[in-house]
């Protein structure tokens, strides 16, 4: 009966997860005023909190910055509560209208983006700059020919860089997820110039005083960029409501206050020693709490995904080894094969993006989508582990069961599967450990797991490596503990080895 109860518990969890899943699909959009928002009375705003001072993770662990405070003021004028969702910059445009109402992320109006979204009136003029090493001879656009340039993926700098490469085919372009990484590579001479926004450029120049310099964009004929809010196409009532609110915020002086607070303030960052870097990465503003929260997200996703993976993996394994009375494999056995092939034959990060943007497009619950994706993925690997566990059990066990009058399924349940699971236990634990590491990609669906927290802090503190090393250490310690437990388990199993 014990086995049955355990199975039942797993099933219950599965059902609950499915319930939430289907609710996500059916969740109806509420109607409000002249335009609709995804959640009634709430303006859901997407951003990428890795672009200080416009948006970054503040001391309380929530996104803050010029854009954030600005959009909150705009929302207030519209009579809506503003909810910020931090996600990957590359996902923002695709998410507008489905996952989020609007996006504000220091986003420049471009013709390309206009194909996918509409924009509000501009709220900020930004200037793109070039930063290079102090000794660099790059001064104008023709100097960029034949060198290696860098930009953050999906940013205006990226678009300018693409144009440069078009005009100078010998120029090599490297794109980065984070400015920090690009700056690090600039210092390491892997790239020669980075195209980025004026403000972060100035900040980096200050931090690496004597090492880097900023060259104004007009020397490269960069046009002034207009930052605007991205919103769904063909929604004039939303557009006019936002534009009205923007001009109100500008007219009543709120805008200037925010501008002074974030943009015109003196930049205090300076190059720091190791200890100071450590303090600002982990201790200052209680940042270690953010790492812990991130770790919890990673663990939560891994644990529930492992449960889904175990339950579904067991089913898949049984489907795969099934044979009919003629000794042939039934159709569902091939279906299981096909499923396992697909899952193992495609990158996990693509599965996650497909799940988030296509299959579960109407769900806003990133944890749910990630848990389901990782569970479905893990199931394929668990299935193979359990299958080989079953095949390792001698044929005599099955024969003994059925010659006693048990059906094959009963024998599987009472005799073969318990032994197979016990033998596979160490491999299953190892699968869980790799699952935990693989969750490091959930930043793609706007979740703040340990890896993404490290990235956010890296951006907020302009520290390229300390937060990343910290996160790596946390993963390492956790996984070391888990794998030592697995080793102990293995030893115990061997000690009481049966047969």
């Amino acid at each position: 009966m014990k086995v049955f109860k355990k199975n039942f518990a797993i099933l219950t969890i599965l059902f609950v997860v499915l319930e939430i899943f289907s609710f996500g699909f059916l969740g109806l959009k509420a109607r409000a005023l002249a335009f609709e928002t995804i959640n009634e009375g709430v303006l859901t705003v997407g951003t990428e909190a890795g672009f200080p001072p416009f948006e970054y993770i503040g001391e309380d662990g929530n996104p803050t910055g010029f854009d954030i405070e600005f959009i909150k003021a705009v929302g207030e004028k519209m009579g809506l509560k503003v909810e910020i969702q931090d996600m990957d910059f590359n996902s923002l445009v695709a998410s507008v209208g489905t996952k989020i109402d609007i996006a504000i992320a220091g986003m420049t109006v471009t013709e390309e983006r206009k194909l996918a979204v509409d924009f509000s009136e501009k709220y900020y003029d930004a200037e793109q700059c070039v930063i290079t090493r102090k000794d660099s001879k790059i001064e104008s656009s023709s100097d960029l020919s034949g060198v290696t340039i860098a930009a953050q993926l999906g940013t205006t700098g990226n678009i300018l860089a693409d144009e440069i490469v078009e005009n100078h085919p010998e120029t090599i372009l490297k794109t980065y997820d984070k400015f920090n990484n690009a700056v690090n590579d600039l210092r390491a001479k892997r790239v020669d110039a980075i195209i980025l926004d004026k403000f972060p450029a100035r900040t980096f120049e200050k931090i690496y005083k004597g090492e880097l310099k900023t060259i104004p964009g007009d020397q490269f004929d960069f046009e002034i960029e207009k930052y605007a809010i991205a919103m769904p196409k063909n929604n004039p009532s939303l557009q006019s409501a936002i534009n009205e609110a923007i001009s109100e915020v500008k007219n009543d002086g709120t805008y200037d206050k925010i501008l002074d607070k974030y943009i015109n303030a003196d930049i205090s960052s300076d190059s720091k020693g190791l200890w100071a870097q450590f303090v600002s990465s982990f201790i200052e503003s209680n940042r270690f709490v953010l790492y812990l929260n991130g770790l919890l997200v990673s663990i939560e996703i891994s644990v529930f995904a492992a449960l889904i993976g175990l339950a579904l993996g067991m089913v898949l394994a049984l489907m795969k080894i099934a044979k009919n009375h003629k000794g042939k494999r039934p159709i569902f056995s091939y279906i299981a094969d096909f499923y396992i092939d697909i899952i193992r034959g495609t990158p996990l990060v693509l599965q996650l993006l497909i799940m988030w943007f296509i299959i579960m497009q109407s769900s806003k619950n990133g944890i749910l989508v990630a848990t389901l994706t990782f569970g479905l993925n893990s199931a394929a690997y668990v299935a193979e582990i359990i299958r080989s566990g079953i095949l390792a059990i001698s044929k005599g066990q099955m024969e003994a069961g059925i010659s006693m009058g048990f059906s094959k399924i009963q024998t599987m349940r009472y005799v073969v599967l318990p032994q197979a699971l016990k033998n596979s236990l160490p491999s299953l634990c190892n699968e869980f450990i790799s699952l935990l590491k693989e969750t490091a990609i959930v930043g793609y669906v706007a979740l703040s797991d340990l890896t993404r927290v490290a990235n956010q802090i890296s951006s907020a503190t302009y520290q390229p490596f300390m937060p990343l090393i910290g996160a790596a250490l946390i993963y390492f310690v956790l996984i070391k503990i888990l794998s030592s437990l697995v080793k102990m388990l293995e030893k115990r199993l061997n000690k009481y080895d049966i047969c």
């Binding site: 009375h325 001698s394 059925i402 009058g405 005799v415 049966i498 047969c499």
Partner: protein, 240 residues
């Protein structure tokens, strides 16, 4: 009780059983002998459909078990098998090995099933091993447990597939002793073995198989002292 008609079995190219016909009566102890590869074990395994016959029919108590419509699982409850490799359930204790089928299949109360199992273990002097796992038993002990596991289902027939071949002589003796007791109790037994002394002493009838065919069948003293066919004569001359 069991009758076999025109039974054939092919393993791919191999023609393993050729037109087997035989009848087995209630309470009989049948011993099947023959050289290795003669199809003895395959024949035995066909009787409870562990191997699916290629053609032919098998009846058990007037139910045709080779007919897919009949539930083979129900029939196997009355026709158990004891294996050369014992095949005790490795994940269960001795007691649970014995009680699993009565509890799950015949819905016997757990307490009742355990009482009966302990009584059976008593008979084979293994009641002190009730909570041991199979890996903690010797081969002879395992095989004796396998036999009582089978008896716990109160079967009509028990098929023995070379039950002593994996045992040393001492353990062989203890297992054969247990089997002899069973035959005296009137259980129908069909036994593939190389133990000729056992055949002489216990069998009601001996079947000699060679090359997938039943060559000769008779009472044991006739088989051993008055073999008819040349093939049986040459087989006996080699082993005796």
């Amino acid at each position: 009780m069991i009758s076999v008609k025109n039974l054939e079995k092919h393993f791919g190219e191999n023609h393993v059983l050729k037109n087997i016909n035989c009848k087995i009566n209630d309470g009989e102890t049948i011993v099947i002998i023959g050289p290795s590869g003669s199809g003895k074990s395959t024949f035995l395994r066909c009787l409870n459909l562990l191997e699916a016959p290629s053609s032919g029919q098998i009846w058990f108590d007037d139910v045709e078990i080779t007919d897919n419509k009949n539930d083979i699982n129900k029939i196997r409850q009355k026709m158990n098998m004891v294996f050369q490799q014992f095949n005790l359930y490795n994940n269960l204790t001795v007691l649970k090995n014995i009680t699993l089928a009565p509890i799950k299949l015949k819905k016997v109360e757990k307490k009742q099933a355990e009482k009966e199992a302990m009584a059976l273990l008593e008979q084979i002097d293994l009641s002190d091993k009730a909570s041991a796992y199979p890996s903690q038993l010797s081969g002879g002990q395992r095989q004796r447990v396998a036999i009582v596991r089978s008896l716990a289902m109160k079967p009509k027939v028990v098929l023995f597939d070379e039950p002593t071949s994996a045992l040393d002589p001492e353990m062989t003796a203890e297992v054969l002793k247990a089997m002899e007791k069973l035959s005296q109790l009137g259980l129908t037994m069909i036994c593939v073995t190389h133990e000729m002394e056992f055949a002489k002493k216990v069998a009601n009838r001996v079947i000699f198989m060679e090359d997938g065919q039943i060559v000769e069948e008779n009472q044991p003293n006739e088989i051993f002292s008055n073999p008819q066919s040349e093939r049986l004569k040459s087989f006996l001359s080699k082993i005796l």
